[in-house]
Symmetry: C2
Subunit: 150 residues, 2 copies
């Protein structure tokens, strides 16, 4: 994990489709070296993968919300069961399993407020283990690249 690795991770987080040649040129190394570095980062598990980022409104999911959920009882079995359940919901795009007051934070992307309402009332509150739900609409979501402190 030297400066070269950090630089590669930074560039690939910004644009996961930059060509190997292009990366090599920017970092002033040979393409073969660059390729080997990226392969090594993958093999070491530092670089987990590459993903396309889609525009939610274009997919008919113009409304995002965060749903804080508390389950009861907060046992391993109940938590794992609930996690498996929400992971199957198409409206859920990300699940945070938490300590603290809430057990889960669900990041959902839905069509509109009716859809959001239906997700909370028809899908979530139907679950017997669900103890508490608080929904917040997301106005804006800013994602950043992770920078290596090295």
């Amino acid at each position: 994990m030297d400066e070269l690795d950090s630089a590669l991770l930074r560039l690939l987080q910004q644009d996961g489709r930059r060509t190997n040649r292009d990366l090599a040129q920017e970092l002033r190394i040979a393409p073969s070296t660059c390729l080997e570095r990226v392969r090594s980062l993958r093999e070491r598990g530092v670089l987990l993968g590459f993903h396309a980022d889609v525009d939610l409104p274009s997919m008919g999911r113009g409304l995002q919300a965060m749903i804080a959920v508390r389950v009861r009882p907060p046992t391993r079995a109940v938590i794992e069961q609930f996690q498996a359940f929400v992971a199957r919901m198409p409206e859920v795009i990300s699940v945070f399993v938490l300590t603290g007051t809430d057990d889960f934070l669900l990041h959902v992307a839905v069509r509109d407020t009716d859809h959001l309402h239906s997700v909370v009332l028809d899908k979530l509150t139907e679950r017997k283990e669900l103890a508490d739900v608080r929904t917040s609409v997301v106005y804006d979501h800013l994602r950043k690249t992770v920078i290596d402190p090295v």
Copy 2:
């Protein structure tokens, strides 16, 4: 936005580095057609970009937390100023701007609990506009692909 576009978005969300030939073969279309489809999705703004996914523990950021923040007064000026501030913090990897009780949800990745403590006490609570903070440690974070209902 037909089934072909949806399939492409699904595949590219799963693996943003699949080759065009590979995608074309799976979808039973010509590579040139596949390329044109992807180009169109980009031009229409449906496909926003491609990003590498890094392993946070490998980057010395093995601890994640969600920090709920309320600012005072909750005016546009204060909110925008605070958003700009947290966007600059290297520990913050994602910022949600919310309605409801909390104004912000900060997804942070830090070295350890000392680091987390220092982020909250030394960086956040130093801000005069900050009215309330609640920190929850993230045990697990599951990301999903967005599936087009079409």
